[in-house]
Amino acid sequence: MTAQEVRLCGLLLQEHFGEVVERIGTHLLRGGAQNLRTIANETNTPLDLVKKSLCVLVQHGACEFGSGRRGPGSPVEYRANCERVLRVLRYPRYIYTAKTLYGDTGELIVEEVLQRGHMTMSNTVKTVADRLTHNMEEGRSMEYSEVVSAFSKLVETHFLQRCPPVAEMGTAASSTTPSNPDCYKLPHVTLIGRGKRRRSSDDSEEQRGGKKAKMEVESCGDEGIYWQVNFERFHQHFRDQAVISAVASKLDQTSSEIVRTMLRMSEVTTTQTAAYTQPLSANEIFRSLPPNYSISRPILDQYLSLLVDDPVGADLDSPPHIPTLNLQRALANLARATLESVVQERFGSRSARIFRLLLRKRHLEQKQVEDFAMIPAKEAKDMLYTLLSENLVQLQEIPKTPDHAPSRTFYLYTVNQLPTARLLLQHCYKTVANLIERRLFETKENKRLLEKSQRIEAILASLQASGAEPEQLTEVEEMITAPERQQLEALRHHINKLDSTENQVDETVFLLESYIFSTKTK
């Protein structure tokens, strides 16, 4: 893991789990696998705090433990997982996706499981039902069965999975990929009941509910079966969305619908790292198209051939009449589009033209670049050198003679997509880390003001609850002066902007990460 990744992981751990966990986590990330005593000594932290932090990290899947290097007798070693910590940045996106797919219930289930790392099904169902009941109107409450059905839908579509069973001490640590076959099997638990409101007015209901809860705690048979969010499945979903929207913007809505159907049909059968979807016959596609897109068979064939012929978005390989989607090429195209747009926004449209030219034509000499890009020599030179100094473009030497004489060597400009994507990914990590630091700085600067406003809000709330007169309320409100109010407003605006930016940079991070990952597994 690079320095930028470790810095970002540290900031994310600090924001979500506190400084102690951040110290331990960063130490593990930098130092590799270590045992308990080493960690405690090197970070100067008391042993019980180290144990607590390790528990938190293991609970959230950011750390694994296994037997030591010196064989089964040596102390247990802990290893932190950088990638998993970086996922924390994407939590809002996961929750929002669950909301779009499975409604509020799904959203709350995913949020609860993300907050707690691992949870049993019964616990999740109860907590979610209570939360939903709390937001509902008077007299209504949420049935457990509804929550259970949402939960089972999430499990069936592989968005939630069982945590792998804990390896015993002395044996080798189990691999992280869930090779357990019961990964997506729901436990046989019957949960009957309704969500409870946390209010004193529902006394009678709570008494009955309380009794039922006690019975349910005894009867729930799923102790030890913990569930976690299956990030890979969410990533697959995001990738599909990206491909569909790219096709929609390049071609038209109907072709994007065709692509969406193809992807949906091969959702559960395709593994995450597959380069191609399963081959589907055109007939199947025709039958699976959503009913409002009633296009006839010949038109479907035309669309399919259009998708094949499109050279840039050509992610369709079609041996006769068996269309498959080349996902790897789709990801490469998306990454390339990202790189091009980055160059365009930072260096202008003419530099972007040069960049795209080099991507298409691979290797070009100085003179050729000027000719093809139709840019005067001086400016082209300037732009090329700017790109070269930013490491987006490389020089390749091709000697004509074996002694590499400079006067008899070709110097060609070239762009390598994969290393450039890695470079941009590190820039993105650095950007997010800077954004978080700036947000923390702004909060710290205005701490006094924020605390004051919080206190006043608390006073207002308590006054309103106890039924005060309007004059008292206005008096309390006036304790914040107008310039302070303005300052608070500006502060909130800045913090919201910084937060929102982090979310959006994360979208670029996702694209680049998926592309780089897809090139690794070959």
Partner: protein
């Protein structure tokens, strides 16, 4: 290797490859070399793309802030309850209340010492001040006495120098008769 060749292209900007090949013509003006680190916030030539602001973005923003707030209340947020005063303690022993008492006691002693020192200083300075004041008073008194002596010698209303007959005037300069005496 041929690349080092001092016999080849002498000139001010010698590099291991020929400069024409990468496009810098002969005798052309190169941009001046940079003598300091690049500025911390360099001016941007192109304005960045504005943020996407929509319902989805705002909802995700709210989700994010809520999530962060919730995490602070969960037991997963580990807080360091005891502030470490003595970091030289080995990790295994729990932080004793005794050392903190000791340091507090030490602090009290130190404060007491400081106070006594301050008092002493004040005394010294006040002594000095008094001494100065006395001296000033004495001086004033002397001046007054002198003044009084002069006045009250013969009980006249005029100062004694009024009755000088000018004998002392010009008595010094008998040596040099060139100067005119006015």
């Amino acid at each position: 290797m041929a690349g080092l060749g001092r016999g080849r292209g002498r000139g001010k900007g010698y590099m291991s490859f020929s400069i024409e090949a990468v496009g810098i013509g002969k005798g052309e003006n190169l941009p001046p070399s940079i003598l300091q680190p690049t500025p911390l916030f360099p001016p941007m030539e192109h304005k960045p793309v504005p943020l996407v602001m929509g319902e989805e973005a705002e909802y995700m923003l709210a989700l994010k802030q809520e999530f962060r707030g919730n995490m602070k209340t969960l037991p997963f947020y580990v807080r360091q309850a005891v502030s470490k005063k003595d970091t030289s303690l080995s990790v295994d022993t729990p932080v004793d209340p005794k050392p903190s008492k000791k340091t507090r006691v030490d602090k009290e002693e130190i404060i007491h010492k400081l106070e006594t020192l301050e008092k002493k200083e004040e005394e010294v300075t006040s002594d000095e001040e008094e001494g100065e004041k006395k001296k000033q008073e004495e001086e004033q008194q002397d001046g007054e006495e002198e003044y009084d002596e002069e006045e009250f010698e013969e009980e006249t209303d005029y100062i004694m120098s009024y009755f000088d007959n000018g004998e002392e005037f010009g008595g010094d300069s008998d040596d040099n008769m060139d100067e005119a005496i006015y």
